[in-house]
Structure formats: structure tokens, C-alpha cells
Amino acid sequence: MNKIYLIIGFIIMVAAQWFVPGQMIVEQESVLTEGTAYKFKTRPIDPSDPLRGKYITLNFEMQKAFTKDSTINYGDALYVCLKNDADGFAKATIASKEKLDNKLDYIKVEANYYFQDTISFRVPFNTFYMEESKAYPAETLVRQANRDSILNNCYGLVYVKDDRAVLENVLINDEPIKDYVERHIKENTER
């Protein structure tokens, strides 16, 4: 291969290999710094990814919105407008296939099923990666706290900007889940 083509090809390849993760970072950072923060009530469970490590899947309470559009099918992309409820948690107001011009923040979701002016949906930011030894305790501790009714709230802190949303952290009783798990593991070992 001609040397000049080789150099150009190599530079393009290296640039692409930088561009893809770099663009991922820039997009996420812009949402985190410029976006609006919402609290999404949730419950974590613990699966694993062979390449990206252990994570908890978040089962959000907010999974239904009002819509008059009965043509929405399973798997369609939807825009769901957000508001905060009286307790300060995110609440879905209205869902639509097109962006609505109502100055509300919105998230992009995937439609499940339509029934009587209500559409159920799946939110995309349901994966929170954790240090490998903490993912499973996170699930069990939250379940235990729920059962003992000592858990006031468990929520995902999500930054929203345009149709992009970034899950920044998961908090239990306003404490980051990492610290919550660490504290409980420490307490259990000291007992």
C-alpha cells in the first residue's frame, strides 16, 4: 500500500477511535452541566454485563402517561413531558409521537401498550453501573429497607436536556447508593 494512503488511513482510523468515545463523553457532559435535574422514583435489581461490568437495572415507578393518540404501537419512540409532583419527584404528564411545543422538559421513551387514553412506556436510562461487590448488596438492601418500611425514597437523579437524559446517580433517602451500601456493609461487619 502506498505510504501516504497508509498514513491517511491510519490517521482517519485513530481519529474515529477517539471521536466515538469522545462524542459520547461530550454529549453526556453537556446534559449533566446544562440539563435540568429530575428525581425518578425507582427500585434497583442486579444483573451483569460481561464487558461493562456489574450494574443495577432501575425499575422506575413512572411508566405511564396520558395520550389521546391510539395509533401508538409497541416499540414506537415517544416524547414524554415532565413535571415535578408535590413531593419533588418527576411525573409524566403527556406523551406524544411528536415533540410538543409546551416549554416543558421531555424525555424520549419506548412505547409499550395503549389502553384507555394511557400509554405505558420504558425509559432508556435504566442502567446504573456499580463497583462489582456493591451491585448485589444494593438490590438486597433496598428490598430489605422496603420490606421494613424504613425506606422513604429511592430515586435516580436524571439530568434532562432536549431529548437526551443522563442518569447521574441513584440515591436512597438522599444518600448516594454507593455510600448507602458501603455504610451498611460496614455496619454489618462491625456487628
Partner: protein, 427 residues
């Protein structure tokens, strides 16, 4: 130089078959050859080392070091990538040996995956495994040509296969992008076939490419309510006919994955369809629209390969294995009338293939082909034991007969070979 050759040379010198000067010449030839030959062992261990290091880095990063800040973790996400790119640039522009290039390319391949995985982890970016794999494969794809890396070409094929299965198996999506990923590799494979048709790596590709196609066909067809056996027979027909192309026909049998996979796959699928219940199951269904399209495309490509061989006058002597897919299609047309006729016809076809292989083995003096034919016949009889009411005595007699056939045919071949050897010596 190989010590075995050295010992043989000493023996030949002692027996006065060769002179000392000839012995020296041969030694000098091998010594020169060894110097010129790239160090294959270094390449293999280099690739293995990179493979393990790369996978190790991915696992270490997957631990999720949550005591580090986001900025620190982001910095570490790029470290393996930069190391891999610098290593690749060094081997490429300093024109290091292929062993160095292979090592650098494999390391960079895994560094790309590690970097993307860590960024996804830091920002909790959700997403399917398939889209993650696709981005990874595309970003690493230029390495195949820039560093001329066989190992990355194989990894590309392996990851493309995993991607296709991830997208298409157990759901309704068809992984069309797999075909593009495969297409990216074809010029590289073509260059290998042209420049090094008998090398080990070309032999490995001759196995991996059809294997990848065989595995991913499952992602292109719908298994529910579809008579996919026809599609598979067509694919095996394509493999067998590809294996008969001039490129592959003169190679060692073990390096011709197309021929072996095509032949074994055809026979195996025929064995399955030789049971009447298989036809009963699908009595009212044929192929879905999607599967019909896939089968037609494979069939047309196979016919094109046969037409090419016809134009090159390479279809003589007649070989029944090359046309099984057409005959099986003909058998499928009788399906509407019930399972009886197609079942009988498939059994006759298997028997014909067995007899044909025995005849071909005897004609070409090939023990392997002869015994393969006998095995096909044995397999057919064994299969019929499960769904027929033949008496035990008759079954026993059939087995004795086929056993005697094995002995007889091999003995006949052995005698024939001995006779030919004697004739050659006398001449």
C-alpha cells in the same frame, strides 16, 4: 533446521544415497529458508499475549473503580487506546515484522472495546449489546487492512457472528449489517486466496467463513412454522459447490472447510428429514416470505457457482453431492400430498449418496471417501431402526450385511492398491 531432517540426511549419507556436498547443499538451503521465514511462534505468542492482556484490561475496568472521580476514570478509559494506537503506529511506520503488527493490532482491537465500555460505564449509557459490538467492530475494521492482521480479521469475523446472533436469534430482527461486515472482509480473503492459497491461515479462513455463515443463517430465518431444512440444504449445497471450485479442489482435504461442511451438513440434514414425523410437522407450512427470499438468494448463488464450473468444464465426472439441493427441492414439492412420498424419496437419496461415495472412493482409491459412503449407509439403516417395524432378525441381518460390506470394500481397495504398487515397481 529441523533436527528430524538433519538425522535423515545423516542416514542418507551413511547409506551413500547422497554425497557430502549434496548434504551440505541441503543443509544450507534449509538454513537460508529458516532465516527468511517469519517467526511464526513469536506471532502466535504475541497474539495470545495481546488477546489475554486486552481481555484482562476490559475485566479490570469492568470492576468499576467507584472511588475515582469521573475525570480520573475518563482519563483511564483512553490510556489503553492511546497505548494501542502508539504501538500500532510504531509497528506500521517502522515497518516491523508481521508478528509485531499482529500483536499491536490485537491489542488495539481490545483497547477500543475497553475504552468504549468504560465510557458507557462512567456515564451509565444504556444500550443493547448488539449496538455496542457493532460500533466496536466498525472502529477496529480498518486494522485488517492497515496492519494486515490475520488475527484481527478472525476477530472481526467472530465478533460479526456474535453480533448477528445477538440481533437476529430469538427475535424478529434480521441482522443485514452482518452482510456488510462480512463484505468488508471479503477482499482481504480474496487476497489471501490469490497470494497464499495453501497457507495455514487461508485454511483457517476456509473453515471460519462457512462456519460463520452457517451459524448466522439461524439469525436470518424464522424457525417457527417454517420448513428451514430446505434453506439449510441450499446453504450446504452452496458450500459443497464452492469447495469444488478450482481454488479449493487442489488443496488438502482438511483445509477445504467448504467441501467438508457442505458434505457433512447435507448428509446430516437429510438424515433428519428421513424421519416421517419431520414432514408431518410441517405438512401445511412451507417457507415464510422472508425465508423464501433467503433460500432463493442462496439457491441463485449456488446455481451461479455451478454455471461458472460448467463454463470451465469442471462438472465432469458427475458428482451427485453437487446437485442434492436441487433434488431435495424437487422432493419438497411432493410435501402437499403427505409425508409418505417425501420420506421415501429422501431415504432413496441418502442411499444413492452412500453408494455414490463408495463408488467414488473405489474409483479414486480413497479409503476415506469409501468409508464415508459406508458410514452414510450405516447411518441410514440406524435411523430406520427408530421409526419402522422391521423385525429384530432382519435388523440384525442388515447390520451384519453392512459390517461385511465394510470389510469387503476395504479389503477390495487394499488388494487393488497392492496390485497397483506392484505394477509400478515392475515398471
Amino acid at each position: 533446521m529441523n533436527s528430524k531432517i538433519e538425522k535423515e540426511l545423516d542416514k542418507l549419507l551413511e547409506a551413500k544415497v547422497i554425497s557430502r556436498s549434496v548434504q551440505e547443499d541441503i543443509k544450507a538451503y534449509y538454513a537460508k529458508d529458516t532465516v527468511e521465514k517469519p517467526n511464526k511462534l513469536f506471532a502466535i505468542f504475541g497474539v495470545l499475549g495481546s488477546l489475554l492482556t486486552g481481555l484482562g484490561i476490559i475485566l479490570i475496568l469492568a470492576h468499576n473503580w467507584d472511588d475515582f472521580s469521573r475525570a480520573t476514570k475518563t482519563f483511564w478509559a483512553f490510556v489503553p487506546l492511546v497505548v494501542g494506537q502508539l504501538f500500532a503506529a510504531y509497528t506500521l511506520f517502522k515497518k516491523r515484522s508481521s508478528a509485531w503488527k499482529e500483536t499491536a493490532a490485537v491489542f488495539l482491537f481490545f483497547a477500543i472495546g475497553a475504552s468504549m465500555a468504560l465510557v458507557s460505564q462512567i456515564y451509565n449509557i444504556p444500550g443493547e449489546m448488539s449496538s455496542f459490538l457493532l460500533t466496536w467492530i466498525v472502529l477496529a475494521a480498518p486494522l485488517v487492512y492497515l496492519l494486515k492482521s490475520h488475527a484481527v480479521a478472525l476477530l472481526h469475523l467472530l465478533f460479526a457472528t456474535i453480533y448477528a446472533c445477538n440481533v437476529g436469534c430469538f427475535n424478529d430482527t434480521t441482522p443485514y449489517l452482518y452482510l456488510l461486515l462480512l463484505g468488508w472482509l471479503l477482499p482481504y480473503y480474496w487476497m489471501q486466496l490469490k497470494s497464499k492459497p495453501s497457507s495455514n491461515i487461508t485454511g483457517i479462513f476456509n473453515w471460519f467463513l462457512p462456519l460463520s455463515l452457517l451459524i448466522t443463517l439461524g439469525a436470518f430465518v424464522q424457525w417457527d412454522d417454517s420448513f428451514v431444512f430446505l434453506t439449510y440444504i441450499f446453504l450446504f449445497g452452496l458450500f459443497y459447490n464452492l469447495g469444488k471450485l478450482p481454488f479449493f479442489e487442489h488443496q488438502k482435504m482438511r483445509a477445504n472447510g467448504y467441501l467438508l461442511l457442505g458434505s457433512l451438513g447435507t448428509v446430516f440434514t437429510l438424515f433428519i428429514t428421513s424421519f416421517s414425523f419431520v414432514w408431518d410437522e410441517f405438512i401445511n407450512d412451507f417457507l415464510s416470505i422472508n425465508d423464501t427470499a433467503v433460500t432463493i438468494v442462496i439457491g441463485l448463488v449456488t446455481l451461479a457457482v455451478i454455471a461458472f464450473m460448467y463454463s470451465k468444464k469442471r462438472l465432469r465426472p458427475f458428482n451427485l453431492f453437487q446437485y442434492v439441493f436441487v433434488l431435495f427441492f424437487g422432493i419438497c414439492l411432493f410435501k402437499e400430498g403427505g409425508s409418505f412420498v417425501p420420506t421415501i424419496l429422501v431415504n432413496i437419496l441418502i442411499l444413492a449418496l452412500g453408494v455414490f461415495a463408495v463408488e467414488m472412493g473405489a474409483r479414486k482409491n480413497l479409503f476415506s471417501v469409501l468409508n464415508y459412503g459406508l458410514l452414510i449407509i450405516t447411518g441410514l439403516i440406524t435411523c430406520r431402526f427408530f421409526d419402522t417395524d422391521i423385525s429384530f432378525v432382519l435388523r440384525g441381518l442388515l447390520f451384519v450385511a453392512i459390517g461385511a460390506g465394510f470389510f469387503g470394500a476395504n479389503y477390495f481397495m487394499y488388494k487393488k492398491q497392492q496390485k497397483q504398487q506392484k505394477l509400478t515397481i515392475n515398471e
